[in-house]
Subunit: 194 residues, 2 copies
Amino acid sequence: MTATTERLEQQLAFLTEADKLKSILRATSLCDGSRRENSGEHSWHIALYAMTLAEHSNRPINILRVIKMLLIHDLVEIDAGDVPVHAAYDVAAHEAKEQAAADRLFGLLPDDQRDEFREIWDEFEAAESDDAIFAKSIDRVQPVISNLETNGGTWPEFNVTAEQLESRVGVKVSRGAPAVWDILQTRIRAWFKA
Amino acid sequence: MTATTERLEQQLAFLTEADKLKSILRATSLCDGSRRENSGEHSWHIALYAMTLAEHSNRPINILRVIKMLLIHDLVEIDAGDVPVHAAYDVAAHEAKEQAAADRLFGLLPDDQRDEFREIWDEFEAAESDDAIFAKSIDRVQPVISNLETNGGTWPEFNVTAEQLESRVGVKVSRGAPAVWDILQTRIRAWFKA
Ligand SMILES: [Ca+2]
């Protein structure tokens, strides 16, 4: 087997395994309420959000790196599952599961690429770099829109208040994209008043 | 309304409309055969393919532009629907529908961004630039993998032969990523022999 063929075999194994993200269901629904969203289509949508809303970042960003982060950020859910923002869960146990998932999934790639993807994912998780802060803020925007479009979506189920949204979601969105939170906040307040 | 708020209202309207791509079903199935794939999750997957397989491009590419192309390339299906590679259809009528869809969907964005996204989409459709040739080749890879993973997938249904795959898919994949076609060709031949 040539070196190129070997790399390709590993890369295609990774990409085929990634297909499973399309079967991981999230708490939120599609905007028409027809069914729950999966993490594959969610990852596409937020990459499109990042591409469209990049100008609203309050810090300098490398949009290619941000998009790469968003394309791979949820892959660990293939092994570790999705945890809804408003659900209670064991943080340490879930983090350990995600680390093991990252080892296994990125480990399917050729070593150099495994390290590159893992570094991007670690950076996203750490939420400290400018790119990660913007990526994290964008990741929180789309579920709010989806909930607003579907009569509050999961908010009633989880007894979520406007104040909780402010502290759990608003703080994170504002950190990277304050103008986006301004407009969402207006919509959220109107929804809770209605 | 401030200029920023007005831009954001337009951008969020575009992003909310884009949600509908998750309800456009393609001919191909998920790799586990559990259900048909939708164009939203497909767009995520091929952006991940491009990010992972960029090194196999046979021409210089701007990977950010390639990924942007792949993230928006199927949006027109929201109005025009998906046409399977192996199906017969009226090319001119379908193209007119797609042009109208591009007008409407990208028209939701602020004017400067409408023009930017439309230019990227037009470039993809023209399939002439290095970035578009690579993006088009990647777009053809994932369905082959999915069909191979699901017992030939849609091939038996459309009576597809190895020769047809060579001329309809192989030529396009080889144009931008010949090493990727080499490995797929080997797998395809083995599948048709078995
Ligand atoms: Ca997420």
